[in-house]
């Protein structure tokens, strides 16, 4: 009982730390893609940790179906958050969101063929060659 309480507390603390890191990254980073990089990984791990802690709390109270439902939410977040971030990054690139001035290379642009390039609009800040 006591060990489970400490484990739940540690899970809450870790999840809040990762969510705070995601929020700070979204506010501070210069670029859509950097913000996506910050938010997708941190939100996936932090939300899964908090949901696991809440499921353990339901499990401790003896409500097994509710605990399974919260585990379902944790697994859904674990699958859904990276897919949404991937779709959002691709949409931002195709929509012509500007790259930051600090960008070193753009491998997605190099991998596109000329046929694909017809649909991609010009970027406001071009990346340096190399």
């Amino acid at each position: 009982m006591k060990v489970l309480d400490i484990l739940v507390f540690l899970l809450y603390l870790g999840g809040l730390f990762f969510n705070l890191a995601a929020v700070v990254g979204i506010l501070r980073l210069p670029d859509v893609y950097c913000r996506l990089h910050s938010s997708s990984k941190n939100t996936t791990l932090g939300s899964t940790m908090i949901a696991t802690g809440l499921a353990l709390r339901f499990f401790e109270a003896g409500q097994i179906p509710a605990a399974l439902k919260v585990f379902l939410i944790a697994i859904l977040i674990l699958i859904i958050a990276p897919i949404g971030s991937h779709a959002l990054a691709r949409a931002a690139y195709q929509n012509g969101a500007p790259l930051s001035e600090l960008t070193v290379c753009d491998q997605y642009l190099e991998s596109l063929t000329n046929q694909d390039l017809a649909g991609v609009p010009k970027r406001a800040t071009t990346s340096k060659q190399g």
Partner: protein
Amino acid sequence: MFLEYLLTITLGLLSFPLLYRLWRGPTTSDRLLALELIGALGVLMLVALSVVAGRPIYLDLAVLLTLFSFLGTLIVARYLERGLL
């Protein structure tokens, strides 16, 4: 139970700075990203509040909110990418 109450309040406070990015994001993708993160924090707040209230029936709402927030993100991303729904 007190711990979950504190967790709910902290998650709510975390979603306030995201409103700045939602208000003044340079691009539409920034706004969509902030909205997605606010939705994820809201799901966690719903689950924590169901622990506080001791009512597991609230969890159905959290599952539905997760699925429909994902669906909305995918649809708006597709609209941004191709210009049609």
